[in-house]
Amino acid sequence: MSCVLRIALLCIALAPAGAAAQAVDYARSRISCVSTQMKVPLEAEFRRFTAQLAFDPARPETGSAQIEIDLASFDIGSEEVNIEARGRNWFDVANHPRARFVSTSARALGGGRYEARGPLAIKGRTHDAVVPFTVKMDAAGNATFEGAFTIRRLQYGIGEGVWKDTDTVADEVQIRFRIVTSGKPPQKKP
């Protein structure tokens, strides 16, 4: 597929949203999850992901987000745990390599806070997620999207077998993200 065609298709795909995709600065972006074992919070980073964001703070309802996480890039700082996490009981990356969130709506909550909603698919199971976030724009037009929300791991079958025991590993897992996009925001008021 030619580059031009790709861009054209991307524009068509994003046309209803009304905002053009912004380039993501992956070096400054981060997605992590905080799980709790024996009441001990443990943060793990997803080292590889892709994000397509189109957002104009002036018209939040036109914004859209599509984020795909390479689950094999889960890194909790212990290789033993990383290997376990990639296995069948947890993410089962051999069969379900990616988690995917696609926004279907976005709205302002006031006070510089926003909220996106949409299906979150992990390990072949899909549930609706509500993702609150803030946006900070700097003078150069870079935008920093930051937020956190909680999922229930067992809804997605994450941690099966002996790991279903939520006394040891809590059901609630917090997903944290900071995504930085660079360049001028595409929508400018005349």
Binding site: Q37, M38, K39, V40, P41, L42, E43, I76, G77, S78, E80, V81, E84, V162, W163, D165, D167, T168, V169
Partner: protein, 191 residues
């Protein structure tokens, strides 16, 4: 109450004796948990055992603080006058070393846990601050420190026990009875 030592008593106080033996039991438990947990396959049981080990270590640290505070306010009973000065000095040094290790070992474990990126949440209730940031190389070093300090404790505790038994069985004095309420104090009985 004749024949009492200069401190005014022939035994440790009930509190000192109680704390001593509770800490002994906790040290044995921490060792058993520690040696078990490292060989367990990654499982909920392993995570639980690690947490129990850490809670036990923090408890030992706190009880050791309590013991020193108690000791400062309640001087230990005097040693037998028959003891040579060098033995009294060795006893003082080994007791100081034992106390130091009962602080240093939990502390090294806490540091090791922090460097590994795993906070310590005491009893699942109180999250202790991370003393150092996540650092794999430092974690590896602290693990060695934790292990070496534990074997130092093992050796020192063996000397401690051997000395106590030697006093009781060979010197036939009241040194062990000071810490064991159910042992008859010979000196008292003789009087």
């Amino acid at each position: 109450m004749m024949g009492m030592a200069a401190s005014g008593r022939t035994r440790y106080t009930g509190t000192a004796i109680g704390l001593h033996w509770i800490v002994v039991a906790l040290i044995i438990a921490a060792w058993a948990l520690g040696l078990t947990m490292v060989d367990l396959p990654l499982s909920p049981q392993k995570l639980k055992t690690y947490s129990w080990h850490k809670w036990t270590g923090v408890t030992i640290f706190l009880l050791t603080l309590a013991r020193l505070a108690w000791r400062a306010a309640h001087r230990p009973p005097a040693l037998p006058v028959s003891m040579p000065v060098w033995q009294i000095r060795v006893a003082a040094v080994s007791h100081a070393l034992l106390y130091a290790l009962l602080f240093a070992i939990p502390l090294s474990g806490w540091l090791f846990s922090s460097a590994s990126g795993v906070p310590v949440v005491y009893l699942g209730l109180v999250q202790l601050p991370d003393l150092v940031g996540r650092d794999k190389a430092l974690a590896g070093l602290l693990k060695q420190v934790h292990v070496v300090l534990n074997w130092t404790l093992f050796v020192t505790a063996c000397i401690h026990v051997t000395a106590a038994l030697k006093h009781h069985l060979m010197d036939r004095d009241d040194v062990l009875a000071r810490m064991l309420p159910f042992l008859t104090q010979r000196r008292q009985v003789e009087k």
